[in-house]
């Protein structure tokens, strides 16, 4: 076959991570690899009720083509909720509904990035965002990051010396993969630098609702005096990822570009699901539901962290996240998490090795653990197995 693909697709390497992650789906493996919500959190009874109501009361609206920016009722419910919870002044007109935040990230890549443009990211950063942006063939620059987020002085240095920086991607709450949260002061410093250079920021907040302790830290969007922040939220972690529903908030100029891309890429997100979730948000106890989720996940985080404390050698460090789905493990520098993972799979336990989260530095001695989707027994047993393999590798 003489078929030639586009440059991006011809260059796309067959990642060895894919086949490895496939292995983690075997049912006899204890997997800490994914980022899956616990299935018992899905409010199936309520989601069945809203499915019936939507089809009975607004069936035609649900089944017909809809606007590319999204269903007005859902956009309004989201704006109202954001303004109630955060110190924001979001209008429904500032919102575009996307098919999961993954699509929002892809749309951002397409509206901002040409080949060899620069994207600044935390070090490490979310693999799915890196993959979405990579379709545009940008250059990634990892901004040095400490336990409070991107280091503002480093960001300033990079922005002052790097041409073609088109956007900055950050996850300030319970970051993927590290689990860390940027404190308020760091966010303010970050925005001060960003406002000086006027670079668009994608503030990805998939985990913000899953807070297990501490207070809400105001989103960067609430400090966005120059309208540079594109805020991303999702229903995948709080309600149900299978519905593929998320949103972005952006200034009108950016939103119009997003809308043009959305229109050409899939016309609109499911009109049915949008109505179902809008109804759920307005007629059911979404906040109570999220609190229930948090209770479960906080417990699982504790079980995992306590097991690591108990079984891991002292030279192995891990984060204690105040929310979200992940903890991040640092091995001694001489160790290689990918080698470890291969061995772990033989011992029927899995995680995601950390090097893929560092697109340029590719650090080898980290891995990411997810604690949301295993019961206590499997959490304890899985950590014990990883500990055994770590000890053998030392």
């Amino acid at each position: 076959m003489a078929i030639r693909f586009s440059e991006t697709l011809e260059k796309m390497k067959e990642s060895d991570l894919g086949p490895l992650l496939k292995l983690t789906e075997q049912p006899d493996i204890i997997s800490f690899a994914g980022g899956l919500p616990a299935p018992q959190t899905f409010p199936l009874k309520e989601l069945t009720e809203v499915a019936v109501k939507v089809r009975e009361k607004d069936g035609v609206g649900a089944m017909q083509y809809g606007p590319s920016l999204g269903y007005a009722g859902l956009r309004k419910a989201i704006a109202d909720r954001m303004n109630r919870l955060y110190d924001t002044h979001v209008s429904q007109d500032d919102i575009i509904i996307t098919s999961g935040s993954q699509q929002g990230l892809d749309i951002c890549g397409r509206i901002f990035l040409d080949k060899d443009d620069v994207v600044l990211i935390e070090s490490p950063s979310y693999l799915g965002a890196i993959n979405a942006f990579a379709l545009q063939q940008p250059r990634f620059v990892e901004v040095p990051t400490d336990e409070k987020g991107m280091i503002p002085e480093e960001l300033d240095r990079i922005l002052s010396s790097t041409p073609r920086v088109k956007m900055i991607y950050v996850i300030p709450n319970y970051q993927n993969p590290t689990g860390i949260t940027w404190p308020l002061e760091r966010r303010r410093q970050f925005m001060e630098v960003v406002n000086r250079y006027e670079i668009p920021v994608i503030e990805d907040n998939p985990y913000g609702d899953l807070r297990y302790e501490g207070n809400e830290v105001a989103p960067m969007k609430s400090m966005d005096s120059k309208d540079l922040v594109i805020y991303t939220g999702t229903f995948s972690k709080t309600l149900a990822p299978g519905m593929r529903l998320a949103w972005m908030v952006a200034n009108p100029v950016i939103l119009a570009k997003m809308d043009a891309v959305k229109q050409s890429t899939d016309l609109s997100t499911s009109c049915v699901s949008q109505r179902e979730v809008a109804l759920y948000m307005t007629e059911y106890d979404f906040e109570g539901h999220i609190k229930e989720n948090c209770r479960l996940y906080a417990h699982r985080r504790d079980v995992m962290c306590n097991a690591m404390k108990k079984y891991f050698p002292e030279s192995v460090h891990f984060t204690y996240p105040h929310g979200g789905l992940f903890t991040w493990v640092e091995l001694p520098e001489t160790m290689n998490a990918r080698d470890l993972m291969k061995d772990c799979i033989d011992h029927k336990v899995a995680f995601v090795p950390g090097d893929s989260f560092f697109p340029t530095s590719g650090k080898k001695n980290y891995f990411r653990l997810n604690f949301s989707n295993c019961d206590d027994e499997r959490l304890e047993e899985g950590i014990q197995r990883i500990a055994d393999v770590i000890k053998r590798h030392m």
Copy 2:
């Protein structure tokens, strides 16, 4: 704001078609502009039943993350149906589920096209496909097209003399916008040329199921001895566009590239909707439902065509489609359909002017009419109004 967008988005012209089409959404306008299925065809009772069953029996599967290629049960139901109806040998492993065929077209653009690569299209061709491919900044070449489809000799001439042709896009059944259907012999001739040059073909078939007379003409996919054809089908015209469900069939090498892009752009299509439609296809009378739709649409086509015969001047020609949703009107060469449309909107009737369907030649004297979404009275009244405006413009 100093924000700079990507080259594609910076260059993207604000189309004057968008604002015009917005006007057609006013409720007092008789609109033949869209391509909307008639809302009374949506099988709401059945879609409510499957929504409940899926949530009760496979709620966790429906609400959790799912595979990027799609839900196996839906892929199987689609493969079975295609093989039953057409002379194909499609396996579920050859199929990727997309969020509407618009997304499939976008994915094709991304896997094949770099800037200045060439896409061959019918003259005229579907505006939404042109817009999707345009995000990759290709060059479009319109292949001369007669009432039987692309002219094989012209296709041969263009392929032999044009560098960088990366793909060919065609709609052989009840084409959008013309309504014409390629006869079997023309399809064979087309595939003979394509096989010589080994260029991937996107065979877009959104309307094939809406056949009002004549026999099924075998899809190009059934003559695809070199595995070059990417076949696209959708549930938007037969079931409900609001669910955003479609599929593509392609050879394994192409499908793997599609899967990689799908994964990075939205992870997967709605797991809930996929299960609902799979259940509908296997437990309900989908074929009977389609036959009902066809009865309604055939009638509406006749009402519109008879009205045009009655009211339009003889120098105005139109196609009599054997299926699908559109007829294509040719005005005398000196007339301009966009000017006509502005006047028509003042007279509370709308259509899509044809120039946008010719990305390079931009012919001015055509327009597209949709007949699926108006009752008899509005069909007759709308055509009469257009006829009046035409006569005034002559």
